[in-house]
């Protein structure tokens, strides 16, 4: 509708008011109908891209996704998920699945995903993850694919584990490394630093009493970074409940966000002491199982994708990765979005995924 004729001195388009009222009444009716529907149905099925479990051992699961292309790149990809979260964030629903995107673009995709560690796994340490789980999965990917080279993609703390692996096995089979929102300088994760202030946070007492650190506790610490957001998201959900696409997206993200994994006690203790307190990765003093993990030893091509509005891993915590690695072929790309929207959802489809494909394709032959 053209502006001008119907505008009153206050700038209100009087002619549009009945149309607006009608639209809002329709939305109010839709909210009631869809609200009932929301409460009586479950969310979309997530992580449903066809896959096979290649190997499962305690907290560790190795999946192989079935190819969706007539021809695939020579080098397979191993995705290493963050130990706090489920891998289905990268495989939401058809059309919004990063894994499906990779498969359709001709990649052979494997994923190292985690389940909640069992009580007897409370003694798992960083060395179990870096010196055992990842190398074991790499071996199995090599065996299954018949290829020696493997590209590794690490998300968040999965990126930290991949970096530690790459620095220790720097002459190993890793051909390319892609990190998403990977922290290096843990001093810059300021609220986490404050929550784990060594003067007040008795990590030994906590781990010794609970064994594995409960997922609820981890989730609460993430929620506390934006304490109002969960409540306000409910208001926004009600506001948009007439919109099926919004509700679908909300349910996917809400379910994933509430599905935080517990952490193995010793692994948590090491993470707090070595990374949060002593900042060893940034200070180049990190070691795993007595083996120096100096990320400057990494020489393979590396891409680091960071998010402009990441409240979990702020840019100041992540920006040191690229300067510190020893690779000559290295690139950092900063994209709009937050910690999760960088990798999943509408933003990721438009921004990160095509960027990754254009970077990795030529390096996967």
């Amino acid at each position: 509708m053209s502006a001008g004729a119907g505008l009153n001195p206050a700038g209100l388009d009087l002619a549009a008011i009945p149309e607006r009222i009608q639209s809002e009444v329709q939305r109010a009716i839709q909210r009631s109908i869809k609200g009932v529907e929301y409460l009586s149905t479950s969310g979309p099925s997530l992580g449903s891209t066809p896959k096979d479990i290649l190997h499962s051992r305690g907290t560790m699961n190795l999946y192989h996704y079935r190819p969706m292309s007539d021809e695939i790149y020579r080098v397979p990809i191993l995705i290493v998920m963050a130990t706090t979260n489920r891998g289905y964030i990268l495989d939401l629903v058809p059309g919004q699945s990063f894994v499906e995107f990779l498969l359709k673009r001709g990649y052979d995709v494997y994923m190292l995903d985690w389940t909640a560690p069992k009580p007897e796994e409370k003694s798992l340490r960083m060395e179990d993850y870096v010196l055992d789980f990842i190398p074991d999965c790499i071996r199995r990917v090599q065996q299954d694919s018949g290829e020696t080279d493997v590209s590794v993609i690490g998300y968040c703390f999965g990126g930290v584990l991949s970096l530690l692996y790459g620095s220790i096995f720097n002459d190993g089979p890793m051909k390319n490394l892609i990190c998403f929102t990977t922290p290096i300088d843990f001093r810059e994760m300021k609220l986490f630093q404050n929550f784990s202030d060594r003067r007040y946070f008795d990590v030994d007492g906590l781990v010794d009493s609970v064994g594995n650190v409960p997922g609820d506790m981890i989730m609460t610490s993430f929620d506390m970074l934006r304490p109002a957001s969960r409540a306000f998201s409910q208001v926004q959900l009600w506001d948009n409940i007439w919109n099926d696409e919004y509700v679908k997206g909300y349910r996917m993200m809400d379910r994933w966000g509430s599905d935080t994994l517990p952490l193995a006690g010793e692994y948590f203790r090491q993470t707090v002491k070595d990374l949060m307190w002593d900042n060893k990765l940034f200070n180049d003093t990190m070691s795993v199982g007595g083996r120096a993990a100096d990320i400057s030893k990494i020489k393979v091509p590396i891409l680091h994708a960071v998010a402009e509005h990441d409240h979990i891993v702020p840019y100041d915590a992540a920006k040191h990765l690229i300067p510190k690695v020893g690779s000559s072929d290295k690139e950092e790309v900063m994209l709009k979005g937050g910690h999760v929207s960088l990798v999943a959802g509408a933003n990721a489809i438009k921004r990160l995924w095509p960027k990754l494909d254009s970077w990795l394709g030529g390096r996967s032959i």
Binding site: E24, I72, Y200, A228, D239, G361
Partner: protein, 128 residues
């Protein structure tokens, strides 16, 4: 259509967004203080200790009632998971053997895999 500046719904949505940012920012400032860390960790530590003691007490109670405790149920679940894991291992091995023998076209992982010959598209959009 009224522009966004005069649209009450848009104003409401903007207000909600700003309120969220404001609350988060305010809370983040409060949580950045050492006092906050001290209080939270004291309360959290006490609560964790109490939960642990309650859990131990409940375990003894269930034993006396001849009921399975959570730990025993978890133990059974672990046995089942272990069996599932071993089945998956066997399945993966069978798939590998099937693939090695060149059989299978059922769409499962046992099916012949596509050739690893893909090249990235050229700048013009065509595969090289």
């Amino acid at each position: 259509m009224a522009d966004k500046g005069n649209d009450p719904v848009a104003i409401w949505q903007t207000m909600i967004g700003e309120m969220e940012k404001g609350f988060n920012s305010f809370a983040n400032q409060a949580m950045a203080s050492p006092e906050f860390s001290k209080v939270v960790n004291q309360v959290g530590g006490a609560s964790t200790g109490a939960q642990k003691q309650l859990g131990d007490l409940m375990e003894k109670y269930l034993v006396s009632m001849n009921l399975p405790s959570r730990a025993q149920m978890v133990g059974m679940a672990e046995r089942l998971q272990s069996m599932e894991g071993q089945l998956n291992e066997i399945k993966a091995m069978l798939h590998q053997m099937q693939r090695a023998s060149g059989a299978g076209d059922d769409g499962s992982s046992g099916a012949a895999r596509p050739p690893r010959t893909k090249r990235p598209p050229s700048p013009g959009g065509e595969p090289k």
